[in-house]
Amino acid sequence: MTRRPGSVNRSYWALAQTILALAAQNLLSPIILFFALGLLAALVRSDLSVPEAAAKALSIYLLFAIGFKGGVSVSDHGIDANLLLSMLAGLVLSFAIPFAAFGLLRAMTSLSVTDAAAVAGHYGSISIVTFVAATSVLQSQGIASEGYMVAVAAVMEAPAILSALWLVARFAKPVDGSDRGRNTKGLWREIILNGSIVLLVGSFVIGFLTGPKGLADIESFIVSPFKGVLCLFLLDMGLVAGRGLRASAHQLRPGLIGFGVLMPVLGSLAGLGAALLIGLSAGGTVLLMTLSASASYIAVPAAMRVALPEANPSIYLTMSLGITFPFNLTLGIPLYLSIAQAIGG
């Protein structure tokens, strides 16, 4: 059957409508609204703040719950033949995306090689909260996904850091001769054994080992209150993103903002390609797209401070947390979902 141009236009139009409807629905979820509240509060300089210890406790809860539930789901559905393939795909994506990001940054912005490489590293890695938000959208739409995507998320945390360091080593001119020996002693150990990864993977393994019986034991701690905790967490993320934006707004040239919105979409397409190759479910596809689209603001910044101290932290933190995170949360996830459904349908 041949399609006339008009029908293509009409189907684009239908897609756009789906995206908008999804986005509107998404924008009115408590999760997004609490993020917006935090953002707003920070922008008007309210003194609202979540104590550091409480924010850290919230993120421990999230990693614990999401890891455990992922593990239980794998133990429930059995280890899929696709598990290893997906993890491999995650590895490759995390390594590769920084190169695309670096090229784009050098083209679109005037960042130095070092700053561009540091920012690029963030986009190869992932944001676990964006991932959680995507699973929560999938859930409310009744779309199933592979439980092991959590493990893929863990795999994607670190490789991008290596790419960033390689980019600097390859393209940056040595500032002064003796300066080349980077402070990377012990860095790899730190990155791989970083608390978030250990907790996520550990909880995943424990969830896998104890299975549905283990889940029954702790369900009313990690399942039912989950969304409420997520609201509080996103309130805090909004506060942090807003404070970051306020402090670094002057650095946000149009090129950087454009990159912060364009790059996640490109990343999601890379994720889409990989998902199609492997043959993930619709839900799994959305999650891999989201992981590829999201940018790190925990593991990578800490590693960059140690290994690339000359890169300006306020640039990469603002890009990742102030532009790309809100974009993914509000428009990105509905977009990726619509694309996955359009392709899958």
Binding site: S49, P51, N183, L239, V240, A247, R305, P309
Partner: protein
């Protein structure tokens, strides 16, 4: 009360470098120090506050080290190796200590 002269070194440094600095101090034979949390601050790289951090990437700590005057240079060399390319402040002042035999 018998007191002895000493130096008080105060190093404000990024949190991700804390272990590197204390390891460097240990290696240089400086095994006495106290680490204080830092809530926020301001410097050439702008203002920041601990409650505005998702990660501790930008957080800082303050390391205080009381040391015999003749060991000061060893300490500063060790510290400088870590602090060199990083943001942070190192200051030294005179003090005197009780129970000097411990230093």
């Amino acid at each position: 009360m018998e007191m002895k002269d000493a130096k008080r070194v105060e190093i404000t440094i990024e949190a991700p470098l804390e272990t590197r600095l204390t390891d460097a101090l240990d290696e240089a034979g400086v095994t006495g120090y106290t680490i204080l949390p830092v809530m926020g601050g301001s410097g050439r790289s702008g203002r920041w506050s601990r409650e505005g951090q998702v990660s501790r990437a930008g957080g800082m700590v303050q390391i205080i080290c009381i040391i015999r005057p003749d060991r000061l240079d060893t300490l500063l060399d060790a510290a400088f190796g870590v602090v060199e390319r990083h943001i942070g402040v190192v200051s030294v002042s005179d003090c005197s200590v009780l129970r000097a035999e411990r230093f």
